[in-house]
Amino acid sequence: MSEAFEIMKWPLVACLLLPGILVYFGLHIVKREIIFVDLALAQVAAFGICVAILLGHDSHDWQTTAWSGALTFVGAALLALTRPSGKRIPQEALIGIVYVVAAAASFLLLSRSPEGNEELRRTLVGEVLLVRPGEVLRTFALFVAVGAVHLVFRRQFVLLSFDPERGRSQGLRLWWWDFLFYVLFGVVVTSFVRMGGVLLVFSYLIIPAVCANLLATTLRLQLAVGWAIATLASIGGLYGSYRLDLPTGAAIVCALGVTLLLTGLWKGARHIAGQ
């Protein structure tokens, strides 16, 4: 057991500290019904990494972060500008397009780069197993800062996602808050994609939030449930990855999937029992 801990220590620290803010963002995203926005932004971030790699930077260089961040910023602005006013074109369509085009563009770029296939796989499933301690702590500090902004402006952000009409009537400048929301979200997604890959980011955002919506109604309670579920699934996934010797990121994604299945079954059973 001590050996397991020794090997999985930093992945465990990363998976306990970092998903906290992802779960919180996930609740916003699920409420706004823009589920694939994170997949799109994560892919745009990954596209930025690909651009940097093609320019000859290493995936750990600051230039890579800059490229990734700048492109995510552009993506965020695009998404904020297109907050649906009419219903003629659902925003989901645009989000899907951003995802697919960013993915295809990454593919094109990496076909010109040696180790392209390897990088493509890395942007998808990441390398949580090999996280560096410094990387985890830096990312955590960043997430704390983003969390602080959200804490300070929680009234605005909550109104924005959960009751935009009332926000508008109170004179909230929706466009500006939307943009800030997406930028902060982009920062979080960008830094986590480099560690965990697109699949893991999506899973940490959406799965705990969906479970929380199944089990709780108030935002506070949903956050608590989401965090508990993310923690459980992280530990389960890491343990499974160690015991069965599986790639770590994909194991956590599957563990999160299993948690959702169990939550659904439990909810269903309670529903039947209630009748």
Binding site: E3, A4, E6, I7, M8, G56, S111, R112, S113, P114, E115, G116, N117, E118, R121, E127, L129, L130, S241, Y242, D245, L246, P247, T248
Partner: protein, 313 residues
Amino acid sequence: MTRQSLSLLCFFVVACQQACAADKLTVVATTADFGAIARDIGGDRVQVSVLAQPGEDAHFVTPKPSYIAKLAKADVLIEGGAELEIGWLPPLLDGARNPKLAAGQPCHVSCAEGLALLEVPTTLDRAKGDIHAMGNPHFMTDPLNARHAAERICAAFAAADPPNAAGYRERLNAFTNRLDAKLIAWQKQLEPFRGRRLVAFHNSWPYFAARFGLKIHIFLEPKPGIPPSPAHLADVVAAMKAEDITVVIVEPHQNRKTGEMVAAKTGARLLDFTQYPGGVKGTEAGYIELLDYLVNTLAEALAKSGTSKEERP
């Protein structure tokens, strides 16, 4: 039997297994070719495990927790070096924190050390593709380089386990004698085909080609590590027709369909090659058996496909 006595028995069995295992050298090899030679030299004195699957690309290995565990417990690590494993081994070693395997330690064997590698670039330019600063790292396809690797592995075993050093040297001699005899036979077998040209997917065969007097200079990849593009494949097909090349070799981790397409367009034969014992069926037994397979299949394909257009029916 009571539960207590049963668990006591289990405890003794496990304890004995651990004691016996501790007696042996724990060896980790990055790829199956080094693993096979380590088994040949270590015999029953060593416990060898291999990280990369034989069908996997040794440049890119998906890290798994067990790799770190194995490295943490290993007495000896055998790697190819020359940047073959640079993308994945260093972070795993960082995670394992095994002082015995630190770079430069006698128990961290880098088999390329002491070899004159081919294709050492004069300038480093990423635009040329996946270029290795130290030269082409696929040196094990030349049996003489495998001999060098075997000597280095033997030296590391002798240093890690001095009481059994004589035994390791004896087994090294047996291996090199067998290899030397085989090399003469392989050279004789391929001699009729001296100067023949082949197409490969990736530039992993210059050492093999140099040893056996072949030319493997056209690749399905436009640059090392860059996937084949339609225009490049058209050039390859044209060059194969112009130079009358009748054999294409692919490895398990490479896209066989590309090879099939080119072979179909040119009437060439597609051969399943591998650098690692176990990468292709029939090569599992060891390094010498792997070379046997490569030489046999190649000689057969070259013999069946003629040497020039006039000789073909």
